[in-house]
């Protein structure tokens, strides 16, 4: 084929090896290619521009404006930030969000990791365990929140019934100022644990068996094998999931909104909840955007660390 083309360079009849077109045509050709590529990109690009890029810029702009839908915005400098900072609920919201994240990290890390560790040793009913642990993840969050709200009911709630059954003192659960936040963390952990367990399980299965054999030959007992083989081998996945969990739980909204309504006495108001209140209860979009920018900066930093870590791993692996 190529030989034919060499002999007859202008033969347009050979489709597989087109003759080099003149420069003008090549330019036009490239323009058509570009137009075609952008035709494919257009829909997605428009949606990203409208619903991701533009709102991000707008959040920063409105944070410095007095903004009421329907009337022209006014520049107010940093007034939104000072107003939001002086709101007594501001400190409560950040404290609650950080406490929530920390507790969710403690419970949400330790419980799934231990579960995955045990599950990985079990040789029977593997599929059953995986399906059952992931089941709550597939239940709509609103349904699990409403379900736990009922469990936490001080009257006929299942949580207090369970405590009575084992002769423990009952608790106020989501209705007590001290216990409300922990109660919500339990709900969030119950609802989201499945994914974490499955990922840990996958990580545990990728540990080469020879490492355990070698450790055992060296006389390492069970706990030593966990400490010196399992944990170092899964450290990267653990770190990843922790960061992802921090990013996810810092944006918690459904559980406090549905179960406690932010109460009692703003004990469960989170930052996102406060943003929602500013926008839809106080009609203060400037304040809402000022809060959003603060949340954005903090979470953006966590995300940057996450992406950095995953990219490095991708390069070395």
């Amino acid at each position: 084929m190529t030989k034919t083309a060499e002999r007859q360079p202008t033969a347009a009849a050979v489709p597989s090896v087109p003759a080099p077109p003149p420069a003008r045509d090549r330019g036009r050709r490239r323009l058509i290619d570009q137009a075609r590529a952008y035709a494919f990109l257009l829909g997605g690009l428009l949606c990203f521009a409208l619903f991701s890029w533009y709102p991000a810029i707008r959040a920063v702009v409105i944070a410095f404006q007095k903004y009421t839908p329907g009337s022209p915005p006014q520049w107010v400098g940093t007034a939104n930030f000072t107003r939001v900072l002086h709101d007594p609920e501001f400190t409560a919201a950040w404290r609650n969000t950080l406490c929530f994240t920390l507790l969710a990290l403690l419970i949400g890390f330790a419980v799934p990791f231990l579960l995955a560790l045990v599950l990985n040793e079990l040789r029977h009913a593997k599929a059953f365990f995986r399906v059952v642990v992931y089941l709550p993840v597939m239940i709509p969050p609103v349904v699990s929140a409403l379900l736990w709200k009922w469990f936490y009911d001080p009257g006929a709630g299942l949580a207090n019934e369970a405590l009575r059954f084992v002769h423990l003192p009952t608790s106020n659960w989501s209705n007590g100022t001290d216990t409300a936040l922990v109660s919500l963390v339990i709900v969030a952990t119950w609802a989201n644990m499945g994914g974490t367990v499955l990922i840990y399980l996958a990580a545990l299965q990728s540990i080469p068996g020879e490492l355990y054999e070698a450790a055992e030959l060296d006389g390492a007992n069970l706990l030593q094998r966990i400490r010196h083989v399992t944990v170092p081998q899964t450290r990267f996945v653990i770190l990843m999931l922790m960061l992802l969990q921090i990013i996810a739980t810092m944006q918690v909204f459904t559980e406090p909104f549905v179960i406690t309504g932010g109460g009692p006495e703003s004990a469960t108001v989170t930052v996102l909840y406060l943003i929602y209140k500013y926008a839809f209860l106080y009609n203060d979009f400037g304040g809402a955007c000022a809060l959003s920018v603060m949340l954005l900066l903090l979470l953006g930093a966590f995300s940057a660390v996450y992406l950095r870590l995953t990219r490095n791993e991708g390069d070395t692996a």
Binding site: D33, Q34, R36, A37, Y38, F40, G43, G44, L45, C47, L50, F51, S52, W53, A56, A59, I62, P69, V118, N120, E121, H124, A125, R130, V131, V132, Y134, L135, P136, M138, P140, V142, V143, L147, F151, W190, L201, A203, S206, G209, Y212, V229, T230, V237, M240, M250, Q251, F253, T254, F257, I275, Y278, A279, C289, S292, L296, L299, G300, S303, L307
Partner: protein, 292 residues
């Protein structure tokens, strides 16, 4: 599946003492899982079948004395569940379809068509992964309420779910990475045979991409079905609300058994989807972790 060596050696497990411990732990885990994950669901399903007196009784009854189905039919009729379920289906289906069309096309362009500034665009898309979606709901709401240039409002319109759903960097990136791995010569062969770009995408690329399309489809459907804050903001009109928002709005002043029945009904589609596709979903999650 051959058993690989894990924390505890097969030799230890084969010993009588090892066997005894293994089965004790196994039973304990089965009981724990049943209590922690299945029992709450059982409690919800049967709670809806108790009479209003019985559901409020302490100590509670483990099994309903009489099985009532009235709460389920009441929930279906009184809470307008068919309407809200239909709204959710419309919202989820549209978001899924638009995501498949636009994300696939954009991913294909970025992966194979070498658009000018492609790297910049991809960077811009990936940057949105760093900006957690929920932190931007308020400016996003303001944008949807008054679209720039067009000055129309998408509030109370399923488009308010559909269009922002397309701006899903995670799914787009999944697709792009998959397309990157497709062998170039297959696509070139299609072009030499005279197929245009669209034709190549439709009859060569997409049939080869079934696994990733399945994953993206499930993610897209589940995301819309489970979402709460965004539809809560966008749909103030009760008749347009998806099931998640309607449940919370109606939960205030409705009989407990009826609410429980409505919760069960709202959960069934996603749980059913999971049970049907559990193998793919679980494999997808496990694979995603190790590949990063």
């Amino acid at each position: 599946m051959t058993a690989t060596r894990t924390l505890i050696s097969p030799a230890t497990l084969a010993r009588p003492r090892g066997k005894a411990i293994y089965w004790t732990v196994f039973t304990a885990v089965v009981v724990l899982f049943a209590l922690a994950f299945l029992f709450p669901v059982y409690w919800m399903v049967t709670g809806a079948m108790k009479s209003p007196d019985e559901v409020a009784r302490t100590p509670p009854t483990l099994v309903p004395q009489h099985w009532h189905t009235g709460a389920y039919t009441d929930a279906w009729d009184l809470m307008q569940l068919p309407q809200h379920l239909w709204n959710t289906v419309v919202q989820a289906a549209g978001a899924w379809a638009l995501q498949l069309v636009f994300c696939t096309a954009a991913a294909y362009a970025l992966s194979k068509l070498r658009p000018a500034f492609g790297k910049v665009i991809l960077g811009g898309i990936l940057a949105t992964l760093m900006v957690p979606a929920q932190a931007l709901v308020v400016p996003k709401y303001l944008t949807v309420a008054d679209l720039p240039l067009l000055h129309t409002s998408l509030l109370n319109d399923p488009l308010a779910i559909w269009l922002p759903a397309v701006a899903n960097a995670f799914n787009l990136y999944l697709l792009k990475r998959f397309f990157d791995q497709l062998p170039r010569d297959v696509l070139e062969a299609a072009e030499i045979d005279g197929a245009g770009k669209l034709r190549t995408l439709w009859s060569v690329v997409l049939p080869m991409s079934r696994p990733v399309l399945g994953v993206v489809s499930i993610f897209a459907l589940v995301a819309v079905w489970q979402d709460f804050l965004w539809p809560l903001m966008v749909f103030s009109d009760t008749d347009k609300q998806p099931i998640s928002v309607a449940l919370v709005q109606l939960s205030q002043n409705i009989q407990l058994t009826v609410l429980l029945a409505a919760m069960v009904i709202a959960g069934i589609p996603m749980v059913a989807l999971f049970l049907v596709f559990q193998r793919h979903i679980i494999a997808g999650i496990s694979a995603g972790s190790t590949k990063g």
